[in-house]
Symmetry: C2
Subunit: 550 residues, 2 copies
């Protein structure tokens, strides 16, 4: 283990049952995976895959990259080996990787893939086998960017060499997969120019090009990042696969830097821009995740280019891997939710930690520690989310001496004993968010509640055009848990104003006159978590709500 | 001549010299046409054209529709015949049209063009030759929409039959060319369902889907119309060719209905979303005409898909045709500007009318009438623009009895004598425009000055980020004519506020707190006509300016 970098605890060693995520993972296992297998068979993708591997004869059908959906569903060969210990599928992957390394590389054929993804696979093979050629080829592919092999333009991150890139540009999914690959290569090479580039592009993304839901990619044209502050609501592309890639990237940055800000973004994407991609019943998916809708956008069972559904299932299946990490000092808790982890610390010390919590509906998290040893000295790192304005920690009922600072990891170093308890209380307030004045959402407000971004839906506001709702600047929302609604959610209720649009019929523009004051009527509104939208009857949806002053 | 419809006076009978348009048409004749011919030669388009017509051997080069740029540059064969009386080119066109009519039609091969344009050409041939088959085929192509011959989707206006279309959708240029073709077919068939459709789609466009510049097509993806109120500024597509097609369509609607609102839109497009497409020196062109820019959008000399430059030159060359029409009652003046028209009225009465004016910089228009007869009774129809808040008309120095109503044609029926003078005074105020509350420009204001939409450019506001400029709600602008600036324009000067962005560094979102009031500093700003932007050093540009309340 590298001395500084964190290492994620494998999803195999994390059990998620109950709470917020447990039932979702159950739906994923029992409904989504079977349902998607049927779709893969129905749409000829399994046949394609078998033909490609020589097991079946005939012509390839559909889009030329359709077989990649099968690979994703299968999660490639490394996970199969890790889970089962079998090498049958692994050997297929190794033969393919060897062929690639034989053809491409310094002094061999030049070039780089049109869609970064193989870099991650090569690095996984490298970590499994220790063979340097996989690392060298992954590095080679990253260094080949900017030489014009894949178009020479921003769309493919091929406009300048990787380490010269100043802004995050081009196809959203490609971009974050490339970043994830570069992060993996940095982990082994510790090449500072790679990390400098990753931080520069991460800053550009989070400070200027990421939706409040964590979604990325503002443009339909090219499924691409926009310019700074170009974040349209209705035409947000925010592809589900880009959200997943964004989780990959942030998870890697977190491992490499130990900085909680990466976990904050990871969590924001997970609960919002990622989770919105799948219906509550597990059978329908969004390809795009807009922040405003006229009601016509609905999740679908499948897509012609069906990268997203298997990718969503894969992320949910491996969700446990994002919860915990280990370092030489001890155990890191990144995400909160009902779960149990068995982690092997330094010097082979095995501990078990379990979380009991109703997070994100509640900020109270009860952590219990047990160990296979009678007592174990290690540091427990607890993430205090950046969105949290107040947090308290008790160990075995007693206040700790360490300062609890939002946006950082709290470290508690002590000799832990079987049955020790940590009580973490995160204040989960309802906040109104505003955005940078150069964004077109200037003058609008979004509602957040802990890690969740909320939205308003037409179905909760019958007889009203929700695009005419204005938020008073001093409004307050109160949360109500409704167990029968949308699988059990906290609804936020509060007062708002309704604009009277009379005078605007048949007009798009008019001369502004100060006396034409808009009439406003008071009304009660209900907001629901963004991830849960479009699970009831179709209708308008809105995240960024106009404020009283707009 | 149909009894009710107007008929445009040919561009050949309208002389435009001096004033606003004269120098622009001179640049078009002396610079643009020659310059574009060179580009057509350089890029192999003339060669393609000669190969297609059998005059030259070899393979076609470039995009498969590149030869259409030559056709546009040549303006097809009908104009050549009308201008020169020669039939050489006309006969080529007739042979092609006959072939098309032989292949396509009821009972023959079904289908409709992927890009509407031939409907207009067939109608021109019909009017020239009187042969019914051209009308029948044009009508046939319009009736074929919605049958799935060109994709069956909205992008090609092929989702439902033409007369069942409820909203204006799909590729912007295709849409307005299709509307123009349908308007031409209506002129001959008087089929009410066609006109009902045209009015329904025109209302949808002007009330919900047209930029304040008259530009249309909000989306890069598909170069297409957006949904209602989807009008992004920086990513406005607003293709130059779509602006031209919009002029075509409105000009036809005006002829068919006599309603001044169509001339209002035609004028709005002409002075803003169309005129912005060409540089002041006549050598560079915009393909897209955004309403906000970070400074990277610049006009270019040519494009791989070079539909726009020859189309711009063609519109300018034939600009005179949009100024005047005749009806059985007399002469209609649609546009104002230094010009002289020779028109042949009912019973072959010839009259000459000349305008002397500095329009649009001034609203004073002096109209002089001369006739080849000693005296002539006819009605003079003068358009009173909808944007004008006050207008006065004197005939030979005397107030007229007719009411002058903005948004309508004023009709003056009398016996006109050689040397009669009409003085029209349109008040040209500076107005702040606001937009429908469902648009993302809600809370912003645009500045208009007569038919012109204004913008602010970075070059006039050194040391300031113009995206931080806010307009006070009670601001007033005063016009100053600057003859040395941008070919001579009226600059608008007024007071505004500058937002202090401190506290936003490195942040895209933050919790809204009422006490975080933005600091504002007073500054003087200068606005220039939108059409003149990007003719100086590159920098930011903005049409919709945030208001004090946003």
């Amino acid at each position: 283990m590298a001395t500084y970098f964190l290492r994620a605890v494998s999803w195999k060693d994390v059990k998620i049952e109950g709470g917020f995520w447990g039932p979702r993972l159950q739906v994923n296992r029992e409904v989504t995976l079977n349902y998607q297998y049927e779709q893969l068979v129905k749409t000829g993708r399994i046949d394609n895959f078998c033909r490609a591997s020589g097991k079946k004869k005939g012509e390839f059908e559909g889009l030329r990259f359709n077989d990649s959906d099968v690979y994703k569903w299968l999660e490639a060969a490394v996970a199969h080996h890790r889970a089962t210990g079998k090498t049958s599928l692994l050997n297929v992957a190794i033969r393919l990787a060897n062929l690639i390394c034989q053809i491409f590389g310094p002094g061999k054929r030049e070039g780089t893939p049109g869609h970064p993804e193989i870099e991650l696979a090569l690095m996984k093979l490298y970590w499994l086998t220790g063979k340097k050629r996989y690392l060298a080829t992954a590095r080679f592919f990253i260094d080949q960017r900017g030489k014009g092999f894949v178009g020479g333009d921003e769309q493919y991150q091929d406009h300048v060499p990787f380490t010269k890139q100043e802004e995050i540009v081009g196809h959203g999914v490609r971009a974050v997969y490339l970043m994830s690959g570069a992060a993996d290569v940095y982990r082994e090479t510790k090449d500072k120019t790679l990390m400098d580039t990753l931080k520069r592009l991460w800053n550009n993304m989070t400070e200027k090009r990421m939706y409040v839901t964590g979604g990325i990619g503002s443009r339909y044209a090219g499924e691409a990042f926009g310019k700074n502050y170009e974040l349209p609501n209705d035409r947000a592309y925010a592809e589900s696969c880009a959200a997943i890639g964004n989780i990959f990237w942030n998870h890697r940055m977190l491992q490499l830097t130990r900085e909680a800000k990466y976990a904050d973004v990871m969590e924001r994407v997970l609960y919002n821009g990622f989770l919105s991609a799948i219906s509550l019943d597990g059978e329908k998916y969004f390809y795009k995740n807009p922040l405003q809708s006229d009601g016509t956008q609905r999740r679908m069972s499948w897509f012609r280019c069906a990268c997203c559904p298997p990718n969503i299932a894969r992320l949910l299946s491996s969700l446990g891997a994002y919860f915990y990490s280990i370092s030489r000092e001890g155990l890191w808790v990144h995400l909160y939710g009902e779960s149990k982890v068995m982690a092997t610390l330094n010097k082979d010390k095995k501990i078990i930690l379990s979380q009991s919590t109703n997070y994100p509906w509640s900020g109270d998290i009860n952590i219990k520690i047990s160990s296979l040893h009678t007592q174990t000295f290690f540091t427990l790192f607890l993430r205090i989310p950046g969105w949290c304005q107040k947090a308290e920690v008790l160990v075995n009922g007693k206040q700790i001496k360490e300062a609890v600072q939002p946006g950082f990891y709290l470290s508690i170093s002590r000799t832990w004993r079987e049955g020790d308890e940590v009580q973490l209380s995160l204040s989960i307030s309802v906040d109104l968010l505003e955005t940078h004045p150069h964004s077109s959402n200037n003058g609008r407000l979004a509602i957040s509640h802990g890690p969740l971004i909320y939205c308003i839906e037409a179905v909760d506001h019958q007889g009203v055009d929700i695009f005419d709702i204005l938020l008073p600047l001093n409004t307050t929302f109160s949360p109500h848990f409704e167990s029968d609604l949308l699988g059990g959610i906290e609804v936020l209720r509060g007062k708002a104003l309704l604009r009277d649009k009379s005078g605007w019929e048949g007009k798009l523009y008019r001369i502004y006159r100060e006396k034409q004051k808009t009439k406003l009527n008071l009304l009660q509104i209900s907001a629901i978590p963004y991830f849960a939208w479009a699970n009831r009857e179709p209708g308008k949806m809105l995240v960024w709500i106009q404020s009283e002053k707009s």
